[in-house]
């Protein structure tokens, strides 16, 4: 197998990362003997494709498995079953040196910038580390570090500072510079702006867009924030309790959502304009997400779904194209409902009748 080919840069639009029926379970151990007594079904049977140069938004609530899926995609975790292909190579069982090669092409940026930066290393050292690990530092590494700092909007005078001396936004820029050091093709961005204040969040979102345009990067953008996901993504996958329930282009998912969970999620987002407030008309979901250790039979969303019927308990709906819907959705009763459009129309017709 010609390993070097993963380093060939993919043409824009070419599939670079393909996950097939990926499952990741975490054992629950209990008792004095720490015997495995069950499993957290963090990710189950997930298919996902990321193309060169595009942003795939992965959205879902806490505990839905989106971060685990990101880590499996990066091969930071090994899936329990399923295959992962990068640039046509099956990387599912790679380890050691092979994985290190893979890391050159795939990097990750974490949510909490301070926790993901070594507090006892200077900014320059942190950004240089990937170069050193891959034996590229001796040849112009210092210049590359300066270049990276400029690319992400840090001043090179900050090179000898320590992470805690910088603001949250600047810390996140360090994380991004480090991820870019080896010139990867794909970045997994795990809630990259969630810890930042809105004014800073917008700076980082714009930076990520600029970097993508300049370097043709592909992003797996993981976030719970639907507005941010809509803003950055080309395609979107919605996760619930370890499964992808709906996926499609940004327009398909946001303008023609067909899975009840997607619709509920969209309608739960607060309005960005007081004239559009719609709490009274919103579909407020009842109850909480069930435990991933013991997910409901059949459709996992059925316990909170207002459309659930007997079949939902018996058979798990496949993520597939269904009648009248142009993108894959995993609901027996999938039906398009433009939740956002409806809220907007309501806001337009009802003259400001605030309480």
């Amino acid at each position: 197998m010609p390993r070097s080919s993963i380093h060939e840069r993919a043409e824009t639009g070419e599939e670079i990362l393909v996950l097939e029926e990926v499952t990741k379970l975490f054992p629950i151990k209990s008792g004095a003997l720490r015997r495995t007594t069950g499993h957290i079904r963090a990710v189950e049977d997930v298919d996902l494709t990321i193309r060169a140069g595009e942003t795939m938004g992965l959205v879902g609530e806490s505990g839905c498995g989106k971060s685990t899926l990101g880590r499996v995609a990066m091969r930071l975790l090994r899936p329990d079953s399923g295959r992962i292909q990068f640039r046509g190579q099956d990387v599912t069982d790679w380890n050691g040196r092979q994985l290190r090669e893979l890391r050159r092409e795939m990097q990750i940026v974490f949510q909490n910038p301070l926790a993901s930066l070594n507090p006892r290393r200077s900014v320059g050292d942190i950004i240089a580390e990937p170069l050193k690990i891959h034996g590229r530092y001796s040849d112009g590494g210092q210049r590359r570090v300066e270049e990276l700092m400029e690319i992400v909007g840090l001043s090179t005078s900050q090179m000898s500072r320590y992470p805690n001396e910088l603001s949250g936004g600047q810390q996140q820029r360090i994380g991004i510079a480090r991820a870019l050091a080896l010139n990867p093709q794909l970045l997994v961005l795990d809630e990259p702006v969630s810890a930042l204040d809105v004014s800073i969040q917008a700076q980082v979102v714009n930076l990520l867009a600029d970097l993508q345009a300049e370097f043709g990067l592909a992003y797996l953008f993981i976030s719970h924030d639907l507005s941010v996901v809509r803003h950055v993504s080309d395609r979107v996958a919605v996760m619930y309790l370890g499964e992808i329930v709906e996926t499609g282009t940004k327009e398909e998912v946001f303008s023609t959502p067909s899975h009840p969970y997607t619709q509920a999620l969209l309608s739960a987002v607060p309005a960005d304009d007081p004239d559009k407030r719609g709490l009274g008309r919103r579909r407020v979901l009842e109850g909480d997400v069930p435990s991933p250790a013991d997910p409901p039979s059949g459709c996992r969303f059925r316990t909170r779904c207002w459309r659930a019927e007997a079949i939902c308990e018996q058979s798990s709906p496949e993520l597939t194209i269904r009648d009248g819907i142009d993108h894959p959705t995993a609901c027996h009763f999938a039906e398009i409902d433009d939740v956002l459009g409806r809220l907007r129309a309501d806001a337009d017709t009802s003259e400001r009748t605030e309480t």
Binding site: E61, S227, K250, A268, P270, A271, D272, P274, R277
Partner: protein, 342 residues
């Protein structure tokens, strides 16, 4: 017009740190009318929580002092009130809901005991049965199913959303006149957030309380508030009816906040962030604290030399900007310019 239930004037709070004294709230003035919802919005460190903790008398006196200003509750200044008096006020006339329900609830005491305690603390003659019945009623009001059974459970048996419901039940236990919620939904998922906001509205309706809602989330403000107070670097920089402030902000910082926000409704227009970062409490810029980041200031000398007062800009609106009359046109030009770029 009736007197406001709460009137804060010139409230200034200093916090001692090992690095020096931080003036965390500067000259905060606002009022709260009966039954209304006032949103206080600002980024981390803007002083929104400190201001409200000062109002409640909940700051640790070793480190924090109110150095100036008054807080009139029902016409009485409570900044000078004794701890005992304040304690009586809180939990009865002033109900509070904090951000993190996990740390606000006692983990080793059942929800029922904590709720009954809140009910009994402020009511003299109440039998245990009555208190328990009231606790059940409260839990049901905030949408906790099987309230009777739930009373005997511990906080860890409640999910995040359920814990926050229990906190709200506690806060409204004695029909407060003012309900203060500090980032009540920040730790929660969006579907749970929608539930809790609805519960807050129900709680407010049931008790006729005025609500102060502190949040960094402009969406929550847009959804809930009647009036809004925008804070930056320890000061109020703008206030007014929520629709007016969102549609025609009069302070460049408010403009920046709104343009930083991606919308769920519109596609991929480039966000317009505020450049730079908020100042730390120890190094507040001279003049207007926002001037180093302000793109409207254009390095005008007045901005860096003189602190702009919070002044009337019409229609029950206040703004603390020397050039607030320019903001509307500047914002329009910015939005138009941005469209042309794209």
């Amino acid at each position: 017009m009736p007197d406001p239930i709460l009137k804060v004037s010139g409230l200034t709070t200093d916090i001692s740190t090992p690095y020096g004294v931080i003036r965390a709230a500067r000259d905060i003035s606002f009022h709260l009318d009966r039954g209304e919802t006032l949103g206080i919005v600002g980024e981390s460190g803007s002083g929104k929580t400190i201001s409200v903790l000062s109002v409640l008398g909940l700051l640790p006196s070793r480190y924090a002092q109110i150095t100036r200003g008054t807080v009139e509750f029902n016409g009485q200044d409570i900044t000078k009130a004794s701890k005992r008096k304040l304690r009586k006020l809180r939990g009865k006339e002033l109900g509070v809901v904090f951000q993190d329900p996990m740390t606000s609830l006692n983990p080793v005491v059942t929800i029922g005991t904590q709720l009954i305690e809140a009910v009994e603390a402020h009511v003299g003659d109440m039998t245990t049965e009555e208190a328990k019945a009231r606790a059940v009623e409260l839990l049901s009001m905030v949408g906790v199913p099987d309230a009777v059974q739930r009373l005997d459970q511990f906080p860890h048996e409640f999910s995040g959303g359920m814990k926050q419901r229990a906190m709200i039940a506690m806060a409204i236990a004695n029909r407060p006149e003012v309900l203060i919620a500090d980032e009540p939904t920040t730790a929660l998922d969006v579907t749970i957030q929608a539930q809790i906001l609805e519960v807050l509205q129900v709680a407010q309706r049931e008790t006729d309380a005025a609500l102060i809602l502190i949040t960094h989330d402009l969406g929550v403000i847009a959804e809930m508030a009647d009036r809004v107070l925008v804070m930056y670097s320890g000061r109020v920089v703008e206030s007014g009816p929520v629709g007016d402030v969102f549609h025609d902000p009069k302070h460049p910082y408010t403009v920046g906040l709104l343009s930083s926000l991606p919308s769920l409704d519109s596609d991929g227009q480039r966000l317009v962030p505020i450049p730079g970062t908020p100042p730390g409490g120890l190094s507040v810029p001279t003049g207007c604290a926002f001037h180093p980041r302000c793109e409207m200031s254009n390095e005008r000398q007045l901005c860096s030399s003189t602190l702009p007062e919070l002044t009337n800009v019409g229609n029950a609106r206040l703004a603390a900007c020397h050039f607030s009359d320019e903001v509307t046109d500047w914002r329009k030009a910015m939005i138009a310019g941005d469209r042309n770029d794209a």
